[in-house]
């Protein structure tokens, strides 16, 4: 039986290839995601190994704030350094200062973008050559406050040389500097694309951090002492609220943080790989269903001459397993190419990730093969079981037409499965327990499955409606195309279902994006009474010096300047609050304060709460909430205001700048709202404001409309990335359509021969196949859009409390999706149509 199965496969190599391809693409995506994240991971591991190569111990604050990017710690007193230096076994110790800084290149633009790529650092130049990860490649170390050493990568990108004057943007504002040296990171120009401006220690403390403070102290032990003994001896001299860890431990910590970050990234990519594999499974199921139907007589013959049911089942499953192994193995290697492609794709969307040579872990190999085989065999199981149930007597009968698929059992199963999916989705979106994202995701997949099960019930009628204009548009070939799409509802609907998934997700994302944009616009319209917005997207790292806000306040043409800062905190219900300029915010944003006063936020350690949240937590004016800050740790904040509009507060809580300044060490504005003096013309106001922001390249002035546009653009950028990643699922579905058509054409050889004999031209044959394909594609698109609409609606309902409160259906986008799907249908039909047209009439008539 095994040999028979293998022979069958080899006899139809082409089909093996096309069938394998459906799974192969999904596996390649998965393997590519693994390869890419593993490669990035190894690059970072190497980076931290290098950074801490000569560090035996690290002294730092024992206080920490958990954030998404890892733990953040407050700075420590610089005086600790002298004590550490005197500890036993210490050969050298250096204080490290690190903060946000961006170097301005020759063209006046800031180098790098910490919001989307590698971070941009301002640090101190460390004197101890072994503790300093950089080594000068030209010039010298900084000696005066206006001197800096920059990394070679930045020097090249910014076209900067030793001796050049330029500017460094930092917390203290725009700092004029002279480049006195260029340094390499080991042998690399820069560590994974990060940029470095390295000042003298006191200057670095002053401009990027805090005078008299270090972020950490690096310790090098005397030769022959272990890291542990250095740590233990340093531990003895440390004051309270500080700790010391070995170099190995701190390396591991950093590597683990990156690993966690990469896990999100890898899950993000794997979700799309999963979608592709899921679609691929549909194709396998479909292909095997058709093959089994076509080979029914052959299988019945096998049964008649004595093959057992198990043997028939086994033969089909073996064929599926071979498809899976081929798909898994080829997919694994294709994954290396996909990894390169993904990296390029992400780079095209502004997300630059560092990666060295491709890393292929055993896990990637095993996962690729297992997914390939399991998906193929599992998808082929039901068709195989159907094959094994063929009665031996069927060998003597001609093949009946497949008119099944409209049974009551199917209706009930379909509705049950769809209902289960919706329930899981609802639980994920609106529930409070467990992995909400996972539940919603599984719900989405199960809904797709349910609709696929229900598909055959309405596929014929829908195809008929979609194809209704065809007889008029394309005459007899159009009529036949329509009839062919209708004749086998099960086949048509499961082929369309594969496309439905991709289109459904695209439609869903499109609706979500449109709704988000509309909601942002509505928020602005409702709450914003100003004229201009300056916002910087530096990914929570750095921002605008508060000096800019201060200087704008002095401009006579400007009536109101209100700044905002995103503040990472630990508290129940959120991990960030907005710090706002309590003196001016109320004049430019309508927060509908219901009780208390926004200006009361001027007292340190106070907080404002959104009305619903206050109700939920039963908070009143005068109550206190514990909030943990980076610098000051856990603090009780007194509620002084309850507000009724959170359109522009980015969450349920706000604090004033005095609270911020008391509890945080970095002082950056990420947001400036500006209102001009009414009498001043827009042109004049803009000119004077732009003059004030000239020294801050990060500060881009936008009026209301420009700001809306920039938000839309940001959303679009992300959405386009998602579209690009979903494209694979759509492409796989197109292979599915092509595959089904090819198999159908094979099955209809006699019919095609007859049509050709009685006068159907080759062109008409192609037309017929093409339009059948278009009908299938449009059926899938229609189902997808309906489901996508439902998902979009559900998500918008779920995110109401997050500020997405407008459901917007992007009609133009969805119409475009439909047109593209139609064109894709035409493309999918190219090869099957050509094959059908080239059929030899005589052979087609003669073959039985």
């Amino acid at each position: 039986m095994f040999r028979t199965a293998l022979k069958t496969i080899l006899a139809r190599k082409l089909r093996l290839v096309t069938t394998s391809f459906a799974v192969l693409l999904g596996v390649a995506f998965m393997s590519g995601a693994f390869v890419l994240t593993d490669t990035v991971g190894r690059s970072f591991n190497g980076l931290f190994d290098d950074i801490f190569k000569n560090t035996d111990a690290m002294v730092r604050s024992s206080q920490k704030l958990k954030t998404q990017g890892g733990d953040q710690r407050p700075r420590i007193d610089a005086a600790i350094l002298d004590q550490v230096k005197r500890a036993d076994g210490v050969a050298a110790a250096e204080g490290f200062v690190q903060g946000y800084a961006q170097i301005v290149g020759k063209d006046g633009k800031a180098i790098g973008n910490p919001g989307q790529g590698a971070p941009t650092f301002g640090t101190n130049w460390v004197e101890d050559t072994k503790l300093n990860s950089f080594n000068l490649s030209s010039g010298r170390a900084p000696q005066t406050p206006d001197e800096v050493v920059i990394d070679k990568g930045s020097a090249t990108k910014g076209k900067l040389n030793v001796g050049d004057q330029t500017t460094v943007l930092a917390a203290a504002g725009a700092i004029p500097v002279k480049i006195v040296g260029i340094a390499k990171f080991g042998t690399a120009d820069s560590p994974l694309g990060a940029t470095f401006a390295m000042f003298t220690t006191p200057r670095a403390q002053e401009v990027v951090a805090e005078s008299g403070k270090y972020d950490s102290i690096g310790v090098r032990g005397k030769s022959g002492t272990s890291q542990e003994s250095v740590r233990d001896s340093v531990q003895k001299v440390l004051p309270a609220a500080t700790e010391v860890v070995t170099g190995k431990a701190v390396t591991k910590e950093n590597q683990n943080d990156i690993k966690k970050g990469l896990k999100f990234f890898s899950i993000f990519l794997l979700v799309f790989a999963g979608i592709a594999v899921f679609v691929g499974a549909f194709i396998i199921y479909n292909t095997f269903s058709i093959i089994v139907a076509q080979r029914g007589r052959e299988m019945a013959l096998m049964r008649a001459i004595g093959a057992s049911r198990r043997q028939v089942l086994g033969a089909v499953l073996i064929e599926a397993a071979v498809v899976g192994v081929v798909a898994g193995a080829l997919g694994l290697f294709a994954g290396i190419g996909v990894a390169i492609g993904l990296k390029a794709l992400l780079a095209a969307f502004g997300i630059d990730i560092p990666a060295g040579g491709a890393v292929i872990l055993a896990r990637t190999v095993i996962a690729s093969l297992i997914v390939g085989v399991v998906v193929s065999v599992a998808s082929a199981f039901f068709p195989a079981r159907r094959a094994s149930k063929i009665a031996p007597i069927a060998a003597m009968r001609s093949l009946a037409h497949d008119s099944s698929g409209r049974s009551i059992a199917r209706v009930i199963t379909g509705i049950l499965v769809t209902g289960l999916g919706i329930a899981s989705l609802a639980n994920g979106l609106f529930g409070h327990k467990g992995n909400k994202l996972g539940q919603a995701g599984i719900g989405v997949l199960v809904v797709f499955l349910g609709v696929t099960i229900l598909g055959p019930i309405f596929a014929a009628r829908l195809s008929g409606i979609i194809g209704a204009p065809l007889p008029r548009l394309r005459g007899m070939p159009g009529t036949l195309a329509r009839e062919n799409a209708i004749r086998n509802p099960k086949r048509t609907s499961s082929t369309a279902a594969a496309l439905m998934i991709g289109v459904g997700l695209v439609g869903f994302i499109a609706i979500f994006a449109a709704s988000t944009k509309a909601s942002v616009n509505q928020s602005l319209d409702r709450a914003f009474t100003g004229d201009y917005v300056i916002n910087v997207n530096t990914g929570g790292f750095g921002g605008l010096s508060p000096q800019l806000a201060a200087s704008l306040k002095k401009v006579p043409e400007v009536a109101v300047v209100a700044s905002g800062r995103f503040t990472p905190v630990e508290m129940s219900g959120t991990n960030a609050v907005l710090a706002l300029d309590e003196t001016t915010w109320g004049k430019i944003v309508d927060m509908k304060v219901q009780s208390g006063k926004l200006t009361d936020l001027s007292t340190p350690d106070t907080i404002g709460v959104y009305k619903d949240e206050a109700k939920k937590k039963n908070l009143k004016i005068g109550d206190t909430i514990p909030v943990t800050f980076l610098k000051s740790g856990k603090q009780p904040l007194k509620v002084v205001a309850i507000f009724g509009n959170k359109d522009l507060t980015f969450g349920n809580y706000v604090i004033g700048l005095p609270t911020y300044d008391k509890n945080m060490q970095e002082k950056f504005d990420q947001l400036l709202y500006i209102k001009k003096v009414p009498a001043v013309s827009a042109e004049t106001a803009r000119a004077v404001i732009e003059k004030a922001t000239a020294a801050y390249p990060l500060a881009e002035l936008k009026d209301n409309a420009e700001y809306k546009q920039s938000v839309a653009k940001q959303i679009d950028q992300f959405i386009n990335l998602v579209y690009a990643l979903l494209a694979l699922a759509v492409i796989i579905a197109l292979f599915g359509i092509a595959n089904t058509l090819a198999l159908s054409i094979f099955e209809r050889t006699n019919e095609l021969g007859l049509l050709r004999a009685v006068g159907m031209t080759r062109r008409q044959v192609r037309t017929m196949v093409r339009w059948e394909s278009v009908i299938i594609a449009l059926l899938g698109t229609f189902l997808g859009l309906v489901i996508g609409l439902f998902f979009g609606w559900a998500l918008v309902q779920a995110l109401k409390s997050e500020g997405i409160n407008v459901l917007k259906i992007p009609v133009v986008t969805l119409a475009m999706v439909t047109v593209i799907a139609g064109i894709a249908g035409v493309l999918a039909a190219v090869f099957p149509a050509r094959r059908a047209a080239k059929l030899d009439v005589l052979q087609a008539i003669a073959s039985t």
Binding site: G475, L754, T761
Partner: protein, 256 residues
């Protein structure tokens, strides 16, 4: 799609006109040692308004001859004419439209498109040409083959005999120059087969159609006005007003 130049003219259709002709047709398969001669310099004419049967043992080349004259297969040498159009000069597209507009086909099986109703099958060639069939003629054809109440049915809802009647009606509906039938009763029981043959004979006698039928059944051949006998790729004999017995006798001598 319609090509007026190829529409039949009265001179081609009238009594005594030649509907189709093969002139020195040679058909070979393979090369060198494996070369097989299927048709060996065959010349034959099919006058309009005649019912001709082609008989011969298996491998005699009777089906090949029909395929070549019907424009389904190309010839190695010689000429094939439908009316005065030389098929050997036509490309696929022109050949296809010629088959559609001027030739009718009845095959042994797979005669009908399963997704179309009986009526749609009957009018399929004209629909492919984007034309409306001649209503009066169509009504007469349908009446002749007796399908009035079955027109809305799909082939799967028809018996084998009914299916073949639909096929005959389709072949007749376009008023072709000539109809080729390849073992049209091969899959039918004798009763249904006799019915079909009777229809075909009436089509010739009453509707003035021209039919060429390939068969190995002496009874079927006896419905024709003329029988051609093929052997080893050559026409070896011809019989006018055949009876089953005479045909059988002749075939026996060929197979001997």
């Amino acid at each position: 799609m319609s090509t007026p130049a190829m529409q039949p003219t009265d001179t081609q259709r009238g009594p005594g006109a030649i509907a189709a002709r093969a002139v020195n047709v040679v058909k070979t398969y393979g090369e060198g040692d494996t070369r097989v001669v299927a048709l060996d310099n065959v010349s034959v004419s099919f006058p309009s308004g005649q019912f001709t049967a082609i008989m011969g043992p298996s491998g005699s080349g009777k089906s090949t001859l029909m395929h070549c004259i019907a424009g389904l297969d190309n010839v190695t040498a010689g000429q094939v004419l439908i009316g005065d159009v030389d098929l050997t000069t036509l490309k696929d597209r022109a050949l296809t439209t010629l088959r559609r507009d001027r030739i009718g086909f009845i095959f042994q099986q797979f005669n009908l498109v399963p997704t179309l109703t009986a009526l749609e099958n009957i009018t399929l060639p004209s629909a492919l040409g984007g034309r409306k069939p001649d209503e009066e003629w169509l009504a007469m054809v349908i009446k002749t083959v007796g399908l009035g109440d079955r027109l809305k049915h799909r082939p799967s809802e028809l018996s084998g005999g009914q299916q073949q009647r639909v096929a005959v009606a389709r072949a007749l509906a376009g008023q072709p120059d000539i109809i080729f039938a390849d073992e049209p009763t091969g899959n039918l029981d004798s009763h249904a087969g006799a019915e079909i043959l009777a229809f075909m004979r009436r089509a010739v006698a009453e509707l003035g159609q021209t039919i060429v039928m390939v068969t190995h059944d002496p009874v079927a051949a006896s419905y024709a006005g003329r029988v051609l006998f093929l052997n080893d790729g050559k026409i070896v004999d011809e019989m006018i007003a055949p009876t089953p017995e005479r045909v059988l006798d002749r075939i026996k001598t060929l197979e001997a």
